[in-house]
Amino acid sequence: MTTPLLEVAGLTKRFGGLVAVKNLGFAIAAGEILGLIGPNGSGKSTAMKLIMGIERANAGSVRLAGREIVSWPTHRIARAGIGLVFQHSRPLHRQTVLENIKLALLPDSLFHLAAETSVDARARAIGERVGLGAVLDRHPTTLPFADLRRMELAKAIARDPEVVLVDEPFAGLTMAEVESFSALIRSFREEGKAVLLVDHNVKGVAALVDRVLVLYLGERIAEGKAEAVMRDETVRRVYLGGAIETHARAIAPEKSGVALLKVEDLTVFYGKAQALARVALEVHEREFVSVVGLNGAGKSTLFNAISGLVPYSGGINWQGTALAGKTPAAIARGGIAQCPETRELFGDMSVQENLDLGGQRQPPAERADRLAWLYDLFPILKSRSKQLARTLSGGEQQMLAIARALMMNPRLLILDEPTLGLAPVILEQLSKALERLRETTPITVLLGEQNVTFALPHADRVYVLEHARIIWQGPPDRFAAEAGAGYL
């Protein structure tokens, strides 16, 4: 083996009393991909930020091709040859996609007034390579989720670093998209870059990496070839968990005469683009309904229309009365709680305060019970209860968003891509929690997912949304045969 390009030793980071990364060490050679996996909040993103100099290490060393860089400022580390693809996309919203990519090609100079024409050509070429050719002149806010992630990869490619740190590139992507992203990351290896890859898509990671390192509570608990690590007993227990079981109900919920939620002829336009076309859908009391659809199919638009956040034509009826014209607040008071894909947490409030806000309208005794139940469900939230929501790990934020929606004790709970960024073991827990909710409370759930392994087991009925239209509906056991292509 050649001398490693990136060498990390004794890396430690404390946030107050919490040790997020503890005495971490590893090395990555040129042309090697190291996978970094571990439960939510185990310190993966923090480790990457420490290498990049965005967070300052309390102890330890980071060497790039033998040079100590741990105390360097971020921009210098970046210039020295390390690039980071952030867990959350960070586009410049006022610039076009092309400008965003161009930026990554510019030198750090005050006097660089005119970018050479070659910059423009190279930015275009990189955009084409990652599959953004058709949207180069659009603004990032108008892009679907996967394209935003593509743009982040494009920026990393443009920077052309020797060491690439990629944080959850696959989160929220469809299988086909994961494939094309994997190909891009593989090409990093062929170009002789050292890659550190974090993701909760265990299959995707295993197929790509040369070695895996598992973190738990900031510490390494296993390292080695992917297959061996995945068989490790501790890794299974703290991270992988078991498979998600199908929770078919013995008795289907009774369908009363009036649907709890009835959507008819729902059409939404964003400017000229049609996001939903004559969508019809029904949810009955106590039902679990899944809306399955790829990125950009219109799931979030559907949920936002129900919550009164986007203008639409057509009808949305809640217990027989039209919701059109009601404010989002009134709709929420009526008993519909949405856990949006974008999470919408109050970043500068603590975990506890976010939850209290959710439970504001509940009687105190019930509120305390719910809180205890939710802390039991997501123990890590309990241990972080005083922490600002903004500083939570990606998965912890997702758990908080779900917990806050549950605090509202809604009659209809809308979950938009709840699996985004969650570790497998948490998915299993969430799945069990949904089942328990279903058995013990009169709650009704509308679930939007493209991860069918999570969407199907819980559903009484499934709708498939494709290109703004509902193209299939039926029971989950017929899904695989009739509509599964592209999802399974």
């Binding site: 990049m52 965005i54 400022p73 971020t74 921009h75 210098r76 970046a78 210039r79 690039g83 980071l84 952030f86 960070r90 410049l92 919203h93 006022r94 610039q95 400008e99 161009k102 930026l103 990554a104 510019l106 750090d108 100079s109 005050l110 006097f111 660089h112 007034l113 005119a114 970018a115 910059v119 920026k155 920077r159």
Partner: protein
Amino acid sequence: MRIVFALVVLLVMASLPFWVSAYILAVLTVAYYFGVFAMAWDLLFGFAGEVNFGPTFLIGLGAYTAGLLDNHGVPVWLDVIAGALAAVIGGLVLALPALRLRGPYFGLITLVAVLVLQQVIVIFAGVTGGEIGLTINDVLSVDPGHNYWLALVFLMVSGVILYSLSRSAAGLILQACGQDAIEAQALGFNVAKHKLAAFAVSALFSGLAGAMLVFYLGTASVDTVVDISVGVQIIIAAVLGGRRTIVGAAIGAVFLIVAGEILRPLGQLNTFVVSAIALAVILFFPDGLVGYLLRRGERA
């Protein structure tokens, strides 16, 4: 089309001394200097993302440095250069520590800087003229037409430089630093360096314009170049015209000064009416006048 329109406007502006009164020229001359103040402010806010509540700190430094040197017999052109330099140095001394702070603290520091400068001027009244102001004997020119042209050329040159800067590669980096400093650093940009440079450029133009303005007015006083309310007016002008457009800031400033002048007969009410108009525009066109027009142009 746009170019033709701009050329016609420019020709009309340049020809004004031949057919309008000295009074109108005087108002516009002051308005043009304000236009430069507002553009310099927009570079900092619109591009570097830093709200500078104290543009008059920079302007005042330029104005008083130039005025004081002139009173000591230094030639006018040197006073103006010294004024600009003083603004840059003072600006850097202020920004160097202030830019380290996050969030609204930068704005607060710039605000405090204005108050401090105001106090210093009052305390050292013997040198600075205190509340009454500093009388300046030299002038840029005695001819109102020449003064007007000088201000116009200065406005145009500043506008072209600041606008080009904002559209340049360095301007793109600056916007990145303003929008997402962590991302900009991870892309390899020294955010502090770029923001400081923006601050220096903003200070340079503010100081230059401040120095030239006092020679035109014949006096430097707290009320005209340092007071917080002057700074507020500059900020309103930039927002009114359209943030992040540079050109809009200049248009907003001219609009504000001219409107204030037209409504002067209203007396006390004047400020009220102008503020109300500004507020209405900001409420209904949050992107400002130029921002609104640009957006409509994009859609059409």
